[in-house]
């Protein structure tokens, strides 16, 4: 794996090409612009996400990190009035083309939300439901549920109470349940939108540990407010900021180590050293 230098430009057009072991990117954006009505929320994003690595999006509040994240699995479609320019390329196709099925995309690119949102069903049902509606016909469901809960490091805590309501679990457990639920449909990429922001430090730590294991199988993209978290878990980090028109742009993108110890852009350096944000 070669380490490419970052390209810097005035308009913060930086796409860090960091290929994966097999030479492929999990997903990439080309000139992505997302609008809400007349307002441009993010501007000209070029990103190539490495496969089976953890990539973190950091930046001050309101700089469009979540918007970019949600563009990856077409969740922005659900917001009335939102539209985009540019491409998001996945398996060689732009997922926004008219003949692409958003439902199919979302099965392959899963999402864990900021506030845990398990279904008001049993723990078992929460994990099984997604697989069921996607026509799962593999090994028996029990095994799938067990595997998913194990991968989410939740199995030991719930194996005796699978039929209990998911809402009875603690916040941290609920979030791991949501991860298990996302894993059960065997995605390629897992998007995490500030998954630990509503959890206590111990629960946060458990999930960060989990991420390392998950990254051996899945590509993970995480949006986080917490720079220390990015430094701890991410292999690559992308730093976003808003420009003078309040549109989010990508300032710098590269291996986490370099971003945090030797950033090339002084805005990155200012943010990291806490001078703003």
């Amino acid at each position: 794996m070669t380490d490419f230098p970052l390209t810097q430009s005035e308009s913060s057009h930086s796409a860090s090409p960091v290929p994966a072991a097999n030479g492929e990117y999990a997903i990439e954006t080309r000139g992505l612009n997302v609008y809400y009505g007349n307002f441009r929320a993010v501007r000209d994003i070029d990103l190539k996400i490495a496969s089976r690595k953890i990539t973190a999006f950091i930046g001050p509040s309101g700089c469009g990190k979540s918007t970019v994240l949600r563009a990856f699995n077409r969740m922005n479609d659900l917001v009335r009035g939102s539209w985009m320019e540019g491409q998001v390329v996945f398996h060689g196709r732009n997922i926004y083309e008219s003949d692409i099925d958003a439902v199919e995309v979302r099965r392959r690119i899963g999402m864990v939300f900021q506030k845990p949102n398990p279904f008001p069903k049993s723990i078992y049902e929460n994990v099984a439901w997604g697989a069921r509606i996607n026509g799962y016909n593999g090994d028996d469901m029990d095994a799938l549920v067990e595997r998913s809960l194990q991968q989410a490091a939740l199995w030991d805590e719930v194996k005796d109470k699978l039929q209990q309501s998911a809402l009875a679990l603690s916040g941290g457990q609920q979030q791991r349940l949501c991860i298990a639920r996302a894993i059960a449909i065997k995605p390629e990429i897992i998007l995490m939108d500030e998954p630990c922001s509503s959890l206590d430090p111990i629960a946060t730590l458990k999930i960060e540990d989990l991420m390392h294991d998950l990254a051996q199988i899945y590509t993970i993209i995480i949006v986080t407010h917490n720079m220390q978290q990015a430094a701890r878990v991410a292999d690559f980090t992308a730093f976003f900021m808003i420009d003078e028109n309040r549109a989010g742009t990508l300032i710098e993108y590269g291996p986490t180590q370099r971003i945090f110890t030797n950033p090339e852009d002084n805005r990155t350096e200012s943010y990291i050293t806490g001078r703003f944000g």
């Binding site: 492929e24 997922i95 692409i100 099925d101 392959r108 065997k186 989990l210 199988i217």
Partner: protein
């Protein structure tokens, strides 16, 4: 990193292969399309209903006026309604409708407003939660039951109170009084919504100036909620105008042009019900006349409802 690697091994087959071909194209989901179509049809049914009402009422009304044999202007100028001899002045029916509705309002407005003020300004949450369902029961009672009550209890009461000669057996007052009780919950609940929506800051300002609870409620909160309260009155009036069975049973049959509530008279709704219940041939002028009356009723209630709802929308917007 406390998780042992052996525990989490999943078979290689479960890992999506990077090079395997992946079909992201839109799958045809005919089920979804059919369902969406069905749901849309359900939604548009309501439009068809309104169109149906307007069409049916208009067509027959035009047929009524087109029959000739009487001056169409008589409809709104003459004061006798006797289809048998070709008299089609609608005023007796309209005045009866308005007299009964006004009697209803004289009962429902003060009572409804008082209840609303009490529930919003004085009552504890527990009192409110017990009182409101009881008031809702008043709305749920079938109107025939109210009509029976008006005829068998209120009328005799009125007659013994005011004399058997002043109060006829069928009279508009009994029907109106009972209608007032029926629309009381409507007026009180909308008024209460309006009163509760007034921000507490207003009340606190009044209290801080040394006002009593009564003065705050009546001189500060009620004026602030005035538009909502007026909307409540309008909608209550509309309900009273459209009410049928209470007046059909207790107010009288046979149009008579009088404003004395102690006399019998037939309202627009009562007239329609009486004639429909009898033998009516589809081609007679009486049949078409019913639709003309119904059209008038529809227009009056439509205007009142639109007005009331518009006012409510405006006062809700100003507080949210």
């Amino acid at each position: 990193m406390a998780v042992a690697t052996e525990d989490v091994r999943i078979p290689a087959a479960a890992i999506p292969l990077a090079g395997a071909p992946v079909d992201l194209r839109k799958r045809r989901r005919p089920g979804e399309i059919i369902i969406q179509g069905f749901l849309l049809a359900c939604g548009t049914l309501s439009i068809l209903t309104t169109l149906g009402i307007v069409y049916v009422l208009l067509m027959e009304t035009l047929r009524f006026f087109g029959r000739g044999g009487f001056n169409p202007l008589d409809f709104v100028t003459k004061t006798t309604w006797q289809p048998a001899i070709g008299e089609f002045g609608i005023w007796p029916l309209v005045t009866a409708t308005f007299v009964t509705s006004l009697v209803a309002m004289t009962v429902a407005v003060p009572l409804g407003l008082s209840v609303a003020i009490y529930l919003s300004e004085y009552a504890s949450t527990r009192a409110r939660s017990t009182l409101k369902p009881i008031l809702e029961v008043l709305v749920g009672i079938p109107t025939v039951v109210y009509g029976f009550f008006a005829l068998t209890f209120v009328t005799p009461g009125l007659r013994s109170l005011l004399g058997r000669d002043t109060v006829e057996i069928y009279n508009m007052a009994a029907a109106g009084l009972v209608m007032g009780i029926m629309i009381l919950p409507t007026i009180s609940s909308i008024s209460e919504d309006a009163l509760s929506a007034v921000p507490n800051a207003l009340r606190e300002g009044a209290y801080a100036l040394g006002a009593t609870k009564l003065e705050t409620a009546v001189k500060v909160v009620v004026p602030a909620a005035l538009s909502g309260i007026i909307a409540a009155f309008i909608l209550g009036m509309s309900r009273a105008i459209g009410e049928t069975m209470i007046v059909a049973i207790a107010a009288g049959s046979g149009p008579s042009f009088t404003v004395n509530p102690l006399h019998a008279a037939e309202t627009m709704t009562g007239h329609i019900v009486r004639l429909s219940g009898g033998d009516l041939s589809y081609d007679s002028i009486e049949y078409s006349a019913l639709f003309a009356i119904a059209l008038m009723l529809f227009l009056i209630t439509l205007v009142l409802n639109l007005l009331g709802r518009q006012i409510i929308k405006r006062f809700r917007e100003s507080y949210e």
